[in-house]
Symmetry: C2
Subunit: 125 residues, 2 copies
DNA sequence: CGGTATCCAACAAGATACTG
DNA sequence: CAGTATCTTGTTGGATACCG
């Protein structure tokens, strides 16, 4: 047999995977997921490490990732309170993909910059 | 030796990789790159296959991907004109990552939906 | 420390109409 | 077929201020 009825398809407009893809295909979400691969991290540590992220966006993104079951939030009753974020097992299944994305950008930046220059020069001619 | 000076770092605010990550971490860009893995595709075919994408967004996204050196645009002087988009060798190096993303969403949608329900129920309590 | 609430400017994107 | 141009709305995200 070829396969069962395919329930989900990202190419379909109304498929719920579209919403999920939209949430994950986000610069901040990817950086958070990538950073959490090294283990549990506190809120303000994430804020410092992911340079340029605002408190609001960090908070919002973490909440969405938590709702999607990718991230766990653990509260410790210290004074002042300590909050640690970690990847769930589900979240960890994205590790390789997330890393690949970030590393790709770093490794191929020069090639992309060269392509941009070539494109812009051709357009200017 | 451990490594050379790391020129690029996505965790840095001003790093050019941030701009690149922002462009690639996009639902439409990912779907386009994924669709192009099967070979050259014409404009309106992409438009039909990636359901819900507007002509404007498709055009804009393709132009950015072309400028970044990930996609090539080939024009054939038929009547009316035919335009084919393909992945460049650079663009093809992203194939696995892009596929992983889309497939992840499709494979784990049920788990995510379950997590969302659990989260929402807990919040309602 | 770890957030929330509010305001606001900027940008993205959908709809629509038109063109070589 | 393969776009561009324009308009208008909706959403994002930065800045700021405040709270348990």
């Amino acid at each position: 047999m070829t396969s069962m009825l395919n329930a989900y398809n990202v190419y379909e407009d109304r498929c719920p995977t579209r919403l999920l893809l939209d949430r994950l295909a986000d610069k901040w979400a990817l950086l958070i997921l990538d950073r959490l691969q090294e283990g549990p991290v506190r809120f303000n540590r994430l804020r410092r490490d992911i340079k340029g992220i605002s408190q609001k966006v960090l908070s919002q993104t973490l909440k969405k990732l938590e709702r999607d079951g990718l991230v766990t939030r653990a509260v410790f009753a210290t004074v002042p309170v300590t909050v640690e974020y970690s990847l769930t097992p589900l979240g960890q299944t994205l590790n390789e993909t997330v890393s690949a994305f970030a590393h790709w950008a770093e490794r191929n930046m020069d090639a992309v910059l060269a392509a941009q220059r070539a494109y812009d020069e051709a357009g200017a001619a």
